[in-house]
Symmetry: C2
Subunit: 448 residues, 2 copies
């Protein structure tokens, strides 16, 4: 972390004339340890000051790069960031190719599209994911991805709300809450932000919060299947959650980015629960469902029935945010998304999901055979492994050092992730098998 010297003293001393300064910058500004800078009089955003470290996944990448510098010939297997590896079905790419080719013709060229997404795609999303659930295309907002939508939802909600998150959870919920100014002070002793409610979701409670003990908050982020634990909330659990939100007058932001990975009868959308439309926003994505991690496409559903305390429909304000702070997802990518939702497209992306789930099975089998306690991998492409008594960053470092496998330390997802490691099942089959063998070798020899 960077700490300035001269300039901050100037600021404390209330000397406001801008000056040319020689500053010693952190090593993140590579190869330039001495630099001429200029202090503006603009104070750093206090919300950004509160962030404790870099965003989790770029941090993991940084560790990978450092490792490669140390072991340039290592065959590193990356099961860290949940990044898709399987080629897109040709039905999807053909459709994008046609659209792109059209852009070079007078009849096929398209300029600005609707900020909310193309009508045909909004309709196809309803048919594919919300059939018989009463969601209307006008309630679906197409975007460049769920992570971006989470920040836009925070812009929508503003700084004056209290938020609850599952612990552990996908770090964008807490980080975006900090950035918008909801989170309050970070407390070193607990590893938690003061104004965020951490709902422990561990195996002792079937990865579901003990709701009666959770204070009322205005927002509740809930992710199912959960990243990182891999747990898909049961129908009964989600009924309890919706009931809890209704009684408390809270809004649930339900993240269903991994719903395509559900193999049992757990609900794939919060709107399968009666009454959810009046308390829940749903965020979802083509990233993991269709391998669009780099192509970028997602959506958010804001039902008309969802109202602020003064009766104003949330959907109107979300529409305003999408028109002002966003300008529509790429029309090329939307054409690809539409192709994913055709019967042929759905079949093709389904087989890729199955491929990753077979990877998950291989990883779960390998780890279970060693006597480890393993969660996830059944309804999600993540395997959540318990190392009782160990610090997760230490486990992460040891696995990396001894097997050249990148994982993610559980505590990166919140204090509730301590003692755990998340292993991603995204990857080529050969790498997954190789990784399983390396882990078996390492852990077997540690035990014996």
């Amino acid at each position: 972390m960077y700490h300035s010297t001269i300039c901050s003293f100037m600021f404390s001393a209330n000397v406001f004339q801008p000056r040319m300064l020689v500053l010693r910058l952190s090593n993140t500004l590579k190869n330039q340890n001495v630099r001429i800078g200029h202090c503006t009089k603009v104070p750093r955003n206090v919300n950004l000051e509160k962030l404790q470290h870099g965003y989790l996944f770029p941090e993991i990448e940084r560790h990978e790069l450092m490792h490669l510098r140390m072991y340039p010939n290592a065959n590193v297997i990356d099961l860290g960031i949940g990044d898709t590896t399987q080629p897109l079905p040709t039905v999807v790419t053909s459709s994008m190719v046609d659209f792109v080719r059209g852009l070079s013709t007078a009849t096929g060229y398209r300029g600005y599209g609707p900020e909310q997404g193309e009508k045909a795609l909004r309709k196809a999303i309803v048919v594919a994911f919300y059939k018989d659930l009463g969601i209307k295309p006008s309630e679906v907002f197409v975007s460049d991805g769920a992570q971006c939508d989470i920040s836009r939802l925070q812009l929508l909600m503003g700084p004056n709300l209290k938020t609850a998150v599952q612990d552990p959870s996908f770090p964008a919920y807490i980080d975006s809450s900090v950035i918008i100014g909801q989170a309050g002070k970070f407390v070193d002793e607990t590893g938690k932000y003061k104004n965020i409610e951490y709902m422990t979701c561990g195996p002792q409670s079937d990865f579901f919060p003990d709701l009666p003990s959770i204070p009322r908050t205005q927002l509740i982020f809930f992710n199912s299947p959960n990243n990182p634990t891999g747990h898909a909330a049961t129908r009964k659990q989600l009924e309890q959650l919706v009931d809890f939100a209704r009684v408390n007058g809270s809004i649930i932001v339900f993240d269903s980015a991994y719903s395509a990975y559900i193999t049992d009868d757990s609900p794939k959308s919060i709107y399968e629960i009666p009454g959810a439309k009046e308390v829940a926003i749903e965020v979802s994505s083509f990233s993991k469902f269709a391998g669009f991690t780099g192509v970028r496409l997602g959506w958010t559903v804001v039902p008309e029935e969802l109202l602020y305390s003064n009766g104003f429909p949330v959907v109107h304000d979300y529409n305003r945010i999408m028109c002002t702070c966003f300008n529509g997802a790429s029309n090329i990518v939307q054409a690809g998304g539409l192709a994913c939702l055709s019967p042929e497209g759905l079949k093709a992306v389904r087989s890729i999901v199955d491929y990753y789930m077979e990877n998950a099975r291989i990883l779960v089998d390998a780890l279970t055979s060693l006597g480890l306690t393993v969660y996830g991998g059944k309804n999600a492409p993540y395997v959540w492994v318990h190392f009782p008594g160990s610090k997760s960053w230490n486990v992460f470092a040891e696995i990396l050092e001894k097997t050249h496998i990148i994982t993610v330390p559980g505590s990166g997802f919140g204090p509730g992730g301590e003692e755990y490691i998340r292993i991603s099942a995204f990857g080529l089959r050969d790498s997954i098998i190789e990784a399983s063998q390396r882990l078996k070798y390492l852990l077997y020899h540690q035990e014996n």
Copy 2:
């Protein structure tokens, strides 16, 4: 605008039990005047409450739709929203086609890319736009467009700053400032937000603010060539602006989205001005430069030399925002952007810019021939027409009613745009010629 009744009374009466309510919704929720809703206890974001009306361009579209409903057979010419109409050069689409095809192959598939953009593209942007200006690829952040970046810059800066904008100006600066919470109360009498500094930029001062009369603000949004006036700030003007920012310790957010349209020697980047790197962020876009309005690609430059008052580099926090609130521009689109910046691509997009500028010349000639005072159209694809003594929304309505041409009322860009109309030069040549003739006919007959 929607005002609820029952629910807000409940809220004022402090009755907190959520209830099922029958609510009369505004006509924006079409075809459903009576609806069952549920009031959560989540208050509406006070910042969103302060927005005065819908975002300008969707509002203009709404007028167009209403007009088409009234005149279903009218041959409406849309010179309102600045939307590109010319097909993309094949050198650009071929490159995207190759990339998309690759996504269906094992070797060509790509998942998540760097949140900051592909290295090759960041480098190509530097070569194409910042040659000899000392900008480094690591200071360039590729995005899905300038409008989206403006909101991310507001997230970066937070609510506790005072902002100055040109008046008139592109509405996203003010609206995003309202959404993040910088703007304060809207004052009906002035048509201005209390905490925003409106820097009048009219013809009396060569479309440049009278800087000695402008109070110090932390942020200054400055757009050159300006949307809507079409004025490109001269080198001398920009030197004054940079000097003003340095003395005041302000940060300039310089929007150069239309720089490709500059035909004289006005600077195309703020970094052409010595010392600008220490006080300015630059936002730019492929939208108007390369016809990417629907394809979506832009970038923002945050120089390492730009420091907060405590000496912390702004670029570190912007990187954190991009990693947390954004997930990279579509890799397909980035491939297209890279092709635009090849020698062949640059030549091809240049000829499209020339086409729109010829449109602008035709419009300027037609309007000038009627004795109207016309600005812009020389360094920007917008023509800014003065109708002294008239309300711009009335002029907009009359032109639409009598010629079926969509324009944009100047007051939509701020109180300084009153009495003006913005006419976009984006369009097919035939439409531009037809529009010129209709305007000539209408305005000639009004005069005589």
